[in-house]
């Protein structure tokens, strides 16, 4: 019985833990704290944070518990991440949630959603320069797209062993948008620019909203077929939403379905940060490059908005360029916040939604392009 007891004790977490588990558990607790107390993207941070706790309970290998051991429960639900099933389903739900009206009312703002994707490609070059192979560099670059599902989607295709750090980096920075973006936005704009008020967008008819997902889908996917799974589901979800007659499907897509997938994706992405796989110098590099990507993306959006103002009669508030990074609707809210700080009567949220949503389309296209270049 003493043997049994010793054996049992040597299998407990207390015996197996080393400093790395403790670090990761603390990180998990901090992420949960940020999600709950600071309310930075709680729908993502709470599951990811708890997933980190789950993934970093020290367990014996070959016991069928760890997320990387085939046959474990975590491994089964991680399947949807490693086989790129969850990201398109999340996009389906986002499509069924999102109102494209403001974008349809002022399509010129979509250019801001394109501009912010500069962050992706510049970071890609940076990662190459640091010595990452091109497939990994592309996956790191996509963090600059500020879109978790897109980042996971591309990383699974190009550099599956980096899913953990890239996904966590993407989601963390998406959550930290209210921390990262404001200083950059203020640095690059004058007070006068931040005070610009934009006129209300025109009303968009129901028919326009129904036709848009069809036209948008065909156009984008003819140009970048590799974005098909993401954009197909995004526009499909939006058609379900807008066409009214299948409201029950749209409702399920934007509630039960996206919630279930969010839970499973969040907890497994969190659990994939198992200390021995995650705590590497590479991860540090990825987090640094991710922050760089976010900064570049924000700056690109803002600067491009200022450039557009050189040519446009009705000036746009360059702050909304920062919303081009995606991180829907977090970064649009940040724009609203920064704008209101200068002038509490200035409501930029609505205007910021246009670049915000087109940023999602833009980074999905960018992911498609990178994938098609890397996959041979």
């Amino acid at each position: 019985m003493t043997d049994l007891l010793i054996e049992f004790l040597s299998n407990t977490g207390f015996a197996l833990a080393d400093y790395r588990h403790i670090i990761m558990i603390l990180v998990g607790i901090i992420i949960i704290y940020l999600g709950i107390a600071k309310q930075y993207e709680p729908l993502l941070l709470v599951p990811i944070g708890f997933g980190m706790l789950i993934g970093n309970i020290p367990v014996f290998k070959d016991f069928g518990l760890g997320i990387y051991e085939s046959g474990s429960f975590l491994n089964y639900i991680y399947y949807g991440v490693t086989h790129d099933i969850y990201p398109p389903l999340i996009f389906l739900g986002i499509g069924a949630l999102t109102d494209f009206s403001t974008m349809l009312a002022r399509p010129v703002l979509m250019l801001l959603g394109a501009a912010a994707q500069m962050g992706i490609f510049i970071t890609f070059l940076g990662a190459l320069a640091i010595g990452f192979p091109p497939n990994e560099a592309a996956s790191i670059g996509i963090i600059g797209g500020a879109d978790g599902p897109t980042a996971i989607f591309l990383t699974v295709m190009l550099a599956p062993r980096l899913i953990g750090p890239i996904a966590v980096a993407a989601y963390s920075y998406m959550a930290l948008v209210p921390v990262i973006q404001p200083p950059i936005m203020k640095l690059l704009t004058t007070r006068k620019e931040r005070l610009i008020k934009m006129e209300d967008p025109r009303e968009v008819s129901k028919t326009e909203k129904i036709i848009f997902p069809i036209v948008g889908f065909l156009l984008c996917c003819f140009l970048a077929p590799a974005a098909l799974p993401l954009l197909g589901m995004l526009f499909f979800g939006n058609l379900l939403k807008e066409c009214v007659v299948v409201e029950r499907l749209a409702k399920t897509a934007r509630t039960s379905l996206i919630d279930i997938v969010t839970i499973l994706l969040g907890v497994t992405v969190g659990a994939s940060t198992q200390a021995d796989v995650f705590l590497t110098p590479q991860s540090v590099g990825i987090f640094a490059l991710g922050a760089f990507a976010f900064a570049i993306a924000t700056a690109s959006g803002v600067i491009f908005a200022k450039i557009m103002n050189l040519f446009m009669r009705k000036k746009i508030n360059p702050l909304i360029g920062a919303a081009g990074v995606s991180a829907v609707p977090n970064s649009a809210r940040v724009v609203q916040m920064v704008g209101q700080k200068e002038d509490p009567t200035n409501f930029l949220l609505m205007h910021a939604m246009a670049p915000n949503i087109s940023g999602v389309i833009g980074s999905a296209i960018a992911a498609g392009i990178l994938w098609s270049f890397m996959s041979h």
Binding site: M103, L104, P107, V108, M110, L111, G113, A114, A115, Q117, M118, I120, F121, I122, F124, L125, L128, A129, I130, G131, P133, P134, A137, V204, S205, K206, T207, E208, I211, F212, V215, G216, L219, C220, L223, A224, V244, V245, E247, R248, A250, K251, R254, T255, S358, I361, G362, I365, A366, I369, L370, F373
Partner: protein, 142 residues
């Protein structure tokens, strides 16, 4: 390999330039397409109005498909308004459909669609629907 050398070796610049260009081209095309949609719809609606007189004749000539069509949306809306008051707002669309069928209202699917089109029934942005009192008043005043 590091630095610029690595970028060149992996054709990084080419990929980046083409990449960002395609993103821009896609969104510019999309923006252009979007800006045309409502013009095309407007044109289509005009053509429709233009054709209407002729269509009316056709309709008379064709076998009368629906003899009991309510003469105006006003009439249908009254029935539906009563039903909605009974259900309570906000209501799920399928429930309205289901009950209107049960109550034997005429062609509930298409009537509800009409009501949605002229925005007498509007989504509350939360998956449910409400009766649009403003639109109703506007209608009854015109």
């Amino acid at each position: 390999m590091f630095g610029f050398e690595a970028i060149i070796a992996h054709d990084g610049l080419g990929i980046s330039v083409i990449g960002i260009s395609v993103v821009f081209v896609s969104l510019i095309l999309l923006a252009f397409a979007v800006s045309q949609i409502h013009k095309i719809i407007a044109l289509w609606d005009k053509r429709h109005r233009f054709k209407k007189p002729r269509q009316k004749k056709d309709q008379k000539a064709a076998p009368v498909q629906d003899p009991t069509v309510p003469q105006d949306i006003q009439r249908a809306s009254r029935q539906f308004k009563l039903l909605i008051e009974w259900i309570g707002e906000p209501f799920p669309l399928p429930k309205l459909l289901y009950l209107s069928e049960k109550c034997g209202l005429y062609r509930p699917h298409s009537t509800i669609n009409e009501l949605l089109k002229c925005e007498l029934i509007i989504p509350d942005g939360n998956g449910y629907y409400v009766w649009n009192k403003e639109a109703e008043e506007k209608r009854s005043s015109t």
